[in-house]
Amino acid sequence: MKDEDIRKELESWLDEHWSPDHSLVAWRSILVDAGWAATHWPTDFHGRGFTSQQAQLVQQVFANRNIVPAASSSPRGLAAETILAHGTDEQKARYLRPILTGEHAWCQLFSEPGSGSDLAGASTRAALRDGQWVINGQKVWNTSAHHADFGILLARTNFDLPKHQGLSYFLISMHQPGVEVRPLRQMNGHASFNEVFMTDAVVPAGDLLGGEGNGWAVAATTLSYERQSFRGSRRSAVNLDLPGRVYEEYAREQAIANEPYSWYPQREGRVDLVMSRARETGAIKDPAIRQEIARLLSMQQANGLTAAVAEAKRRSGSNEIVPSGSIGKLAASIIARQAAHVHTMIAGADAMAAGPDSAVDGMIAEVLLSVPAISIAGGTDEIQRNIIAERVLGMPKETRSDTGPFRDIKRNA
């Protein structure tokens, strides 16, 4: 199908069906029924089998016309793509539609306190009892778990197999007595994450995804989608300040979805504020500070260029090894650290203060207390360096200490 044909068909369909007076769910139901909610999905499941270029074109039309799209916030999207890839027809039929309409919110239950850098070391236990899976264990770093209806869960069904082989992947209802969600406050005062405690929580046999013992392969699908969304913007392309019920409800949904990420720009160091701060405070005249600003802005621009070059090469289908996401992630960490250093130098003693009456309405203080997260979240700097060294540079791996049956591997109590 030609791009122009797609555009024409969609535009005329929208002319006919779009109205800001729908409820959010009603509008998205119309979208799903007409096959415009997830056009890159297969025709059997709400889609049109479009290529990702075609799907992007569709999104562009929605954005241009300022029309509310199907629900796609992060953990929701990861769940949908993973179910699409590994689910049975029954699972797809049951779970995909309410994800697109926004009726079901999802969360991701992978990380555990005992296995932060080592997802495959999960020790949450899933045991089949009386035809259903009984789950016991603790998960952590679960964004939006307190708003979620369902979770994608990585748990161990066999402790006698090597660690990657004993894992299974489940779709778990968050609304049950065995699941307790507690907010987890961070050192910067925000509480963007949760801990999830599962005590004899239950998953019906039909909600095992991808088969017993295949959890790591299924999780790999989720993680690969997660990495792809790393560079994407979290902000909706739609202007939310328009009249109409669907806009109001969508704005509310977006506010909830974005709330955990409000401090993320600070976590990256707010390089954008550096020059104006240096001018306001007069720090721009301090040669020692100028050196550090120059280093920071150099790295920042270099990182942007490096990413643009990688993107250009990817698009041109070049065979050259393109530095992976790990380089960008490690770079972001180095930049944020230097930004915090520079903001500290610029502020001087004022950096002792926090809150609304401190520099940039407390934003500088929030930077100083948020940057330590960027070198940890989503894989520590140390893990990124290992990946770069082994996968990009081809340096030899170390002998592993975590082979053999999982139960014999030394791990945290």
């Binding site: 987890l184 050192m187 301090d286 001087g348 002792m352």
Partner: protein, 372 residues
């Protein structure tokens, strides 16, 4: 010059450590930092009267024990280690040193015994906490001793009974006294003490402003004298930072020994080992230099680069240790629940308190140039 602690000094250090171990566990730190005053009067009383810390560096004539910067450094090092919450730094370090070094004998006699006993609490108002050269740029006294202007950052002003103010005056700087109990009764005194939110909640900060506020002039402040006062304060501060850094470093090494990932203790990964080894070198460096700076003050060296050097090195070291302490703990180290951030925030705050590292390196160079 003294290189290591004497046996008496080691005993003193152990005594302070035992006291704070019992009275300032993290649970107490968390409880107190959430209060307005930020300290426990009973612990303060014992620290002052039983341990005599508030008067350790005050001559016996004025009710102290007559020791010097080394012993004060021992005390602040342990306070940094246990993150002691209280007005010690404001009152016993900043205000007391200001009196000792700049006040008239009359004022010393009147005020030091109360500070030595911990019965009165002082604070020192400097309108700039970055650089001694800038002090006096926004706070001035007129010929009748009335103060005008603002000091944006004053430690523990909310807890003070008396306030020492360095203000610009015709021809230079002067040291002024405000008795806060007394001035409350003065109508329209123009004094405003506004508590401020601090990055480091264990150390209370206020904005203090004066609008024709009556004060008493109690001493001359020369630029050289102010530099010397500054150096005494930053050496006590450097000790505090060493204490905090050592604690974080020790607990981090311990953590890497006990925490397993990929079937082995994370401390067995060479990347972490090398980082910790480099930190140890930095820690030993900063510690040696800080102790030496105290010894230089103790020996009465007039202009020395060592205090600036110690502050710069201790600041860089403490931040680096704090950063590593969070990093090696991973996600858990970034949570409120974990104690690491309490020290991290102290490290960040102390880094810029009384001058950032690059500023002290510049000061140090100026002094080194002057020498040779």
């Amino acid at each position: 010059m003294q290189l290591t602690l004497s046996e008496d000094q080691i005993d003193f250090q152990d005594m302070v450590a035992r006291f704070l171990e019992a009275s300032s566990p993290p649970t107490e730190v968390r409880r107190l930092m959430a209060t307005e005053s930020g300290y426990d009067p009973e612990v303060w009383r014992r620290l002052s009267s039983e341990l005599g810390l508030t008067g350790i560096h005050i001559p016996e004539t004025w009710g102290g024990s007559g020791f010097g910067p080394i012993e004060l450094g021992i005390a602040t090092e342990q306070m940094g280690r246990y993150l002691y919450c209280g007005p010690f730094f404001a009152s016993s370090v900043m205000a007391t040193y200001a009196l000792l070094q700049m006040a008239s004998d009359e004022a010393k006699t009147a005020l030091l015994p109360g500070l030595a006993a911990g019965e009165t609490l002082g604070c020192l108002v400097l309108d700039d906490l970055n650089d001694p050269v800038k002090v006096g740029s926004s706070l001035a006294a007129d010929a009748s001793g009335h103060l005008q202007g603002t000091a944006p950052l004053v430690v523990d002003a909310n807890n003070a009974d008396l306030m020492l103010v360095v203000a610009r005056e015709t021809g230079g700087l002067g040291l002024y006294l405000l008795d806060l109990l007394e001035i409350q009764d003065t109508p329209a005194n123009g004094l405003r003490i506004t508590p401020r939110q601090a990055i480091d909640e264990t150390r209370k900060l206020c904005r203090v402003s004066f609008d024709h506020t009556p004060a008493v002039r109690i001493g001359d402040v020369t630029r050289q004298g102010l530099n010397r006062l500054w150096d005494h304060i930053i050496v006590a501060l450097a000790h505090e930072m060493i204490g905090g850094a050592q604690r974080l470093f020790d607990s981090t090494i311990e953590y890497t020994r006990l925490r397993y990932q990929f079937g082995r203790p994370i401390g067995s990964f060479q990347g972490l080992k090398h980082r910790c080894a480099d930190l140890l070198v930095q820690l030993e460096f900063a510690r040696s230099v800080t102790f030496h700076a105290a010894a230089c003050l103790d020996a009465g060296n007039e202009v020395a680069h060592e205090p600036a050097m110690a502050k710069a090195m201790a600041s860089d070291l403490y931040m680096e240790v704090a950063r590593t302490a969070i990093q090696l703990r991973g996600g858990i180290g970034f949570t409120w629940e974990d104690d690491t951030h309490l020290w991290f925030k102290r490290a960040k705050s102390a880094e810029v308190f009384m001058g950032s590292p690059h500023l002290h390196r510049e000061r140090m160079m100026t002094m080194l140039e002057a020498i040779s």
